[in-house]
Amino acid sequence: MLLTRIEASGFRNLEGFAQFGSGLNIFYGDNAQGKTNWLEAIYILGNTKSFRTSQLRECIAFDQQQAVLRGETLRGSTTKQIQLLIAEDSKQLFINGKREALTRYLGNLDVFAFSLEEMDVIRGEPGQRRRFIDRGAVAVSPRFLNTLSRYNQVIKQKNRLLGEASQSDNPAQYISQVEAWNEQLVELGAAIHDQRASYVERMNQVLDQNDHGRAIFGAERITVRYRSQLEGKGDLDNYADLFGERLALRLTAEIAAGHSLIGPHRDDLEIMSDGREVSRYGSAGQQRSALLLLDLAQVSIYNSIYEESPVLLIDDIDAELDRGRIEALLSELEGRAQTFVSTSRRAIANRYRDRAQTHRVERGQAVRETGSYDGVFVGAGFDNDAIDQADDGSMSKPTAG
């Protein structure tokens, strides 16, 4: 799967379009010019969510009513046009001009991201880590999204019911209703627990085999473990039964609390470096390395399941890594992901000129650097203008505005 082109309008400060190569793509430019905005646009186009904000409407430019992102993807020899429209209180998704539901839209462009914001996966709340696992698990099994969304619906209903019950003079009359919702919770919760646990297990295997990654990022051995809230309470291999038992046991406590107390929405992911929790004992550098290795593991799992490349975004690559590690990381990714990086350092853009498509970002426009590697795909939106101007060594003019 490749993103060959993206066009943005009304999206933050972005203007025009950019075309991409199948391997490495670099956005470079001064701060606040829009490098990260381009990465965010790619991320949102694929995932319909941002890695920077939970409020998509924040992406709409100040003077605009709506933001539109339009992309072209290439899979085998099939091109698709995907489009996402962000309005004040809604978003709309389109494939080849036809409006589509989220479940059909997702999976057309699978994007993973490494950014400063994503450091919350290491340092932040358990919810950040659950979402990290879920993103990976959904990318390899799209139906998992429906399971998650059904589970969330049931939790919302149950919480409302428990809230009512806790305020009631006769909470006991709510018991059979709560039990009715719990039955579904058990089925869906077990599916979620099992799917996450097996994804994390798979991740562990990949991390274990990644000697090369360890060589890049230092000697630490990164391991992950899915930590269920029900750990120590019984047999996790038979999660459905255990969950059901615990729900029955805690029924009155849940009614008293007025919201649900147990379930996989309370689980966590343990990220260890040489057996010690990275969030607590790791240096900032170790935490970044750990997260990068986890991202690489997600890419590997994706590669092994689909036998094709996802998109990987690395925001502000030089802020995170020194020259040697950048080199090692990018060669590690060669052929395994269509990679987009942003950097404020011209030297990095220059160093990879012969292997990357480079865009200089200025006031929201991505201007294709002439003379940069033309690793584009035949027939897929070849940017002739930029190539025509390739000889004089200067920047090409923006081809759209």
């Binding site: 139906r143 998992f144 429906n146 399971t147 209903q157 209703q177 009715a180 039955e183 599916a191 799917q195």
Partner: protein, 199 residues
């Protein structure tokens, strides 16, 4: 910008109260009505009045009907040993169209949904138990919708009905025809596979 003349605004307001009709569609409908032939709009008014005047809910099964009890409840040709429970009258029509089912019905007029303020008291459950007292029912078939609310309702009813001793079944849940196998959730897929049939 000036508002529309008052009767138009009023019509738009009323239309907008309909489920699934937003401001834009209400406006579009209002202008359609405005431009339509008098004859056409009279027919619409008549149809609405007729529904309100003539249609009632069956006191036995809660289905919509023009006679009480309804024709399903009084038909001698139907198997009175089975009651199939649906959420809405239109679910009943869907099942009836298959011509596979010859028993009786019971319409709940909704499904459990705390978020929408629907609890057991808002559903037509009470007269189901009255029926079960007087009729010799051997099987209850739960045909609530295969979404989270329908499932919760089926689970809730099962708990209430189990002690009465009749057979309780749930219509086979699985992957709806015409939908993508790829996107059915894990639990639905699992059920579809366990309930698969020999061909």
């Amino acid at each position: 910008m000036l508002d529309y003349a008052e009767p138009v605004t009023k019509l738009i307001d009323e239309l907008q109260k309909m489920p699934g009709v937003g401001a834009k569609s209400a406006q579009r409908l209002a202008f359609h009505i405005l431009r339509a032939e008098r004859e056409e709009t009279d027919r619409l008014i008549e149809a609405i009045q007729e529904v309100k005047d003539k249609i009632i809910f069956c006191s036995t099964c809660n289905n919509i009907t023009d006679v009480d009890p309804c024709r399903y409840c009084t038909s001698p040709g139907r198997d009175r040993r089975a009651i199939l429970i649906v959420e809405e009258p239109y679910n009943l029509v869907t099942i009836e169209k298959t011509r596979e089912y010859r028993g009786l019905y019971h319409v709940l007029h909704g499904a459990l949904s705390p978020i929408r303020g629907i609890g057991p008291d808002q559903l037509k459950i009470k007269n189901l138990f009255e029926r079960l007292r007087v009729e010799e029912v051997e099987e209850i078939i739960l045909a609530t919708n295969p979404n989270t609310e329908g499932e919760a309702t089926a689970n809730y009813l099962t708990k209430l009905l189990k002690p009465l001793g009749m057979r309780i079944t749930r219509i086979a849940m699985g992957v709806p025809v015409g939908s993508d196998l790829e996107y059915a959730d894990e639990v639905t897929m699992h059920k579809a596979l366990t309930n698969r049939i020999e061909l």
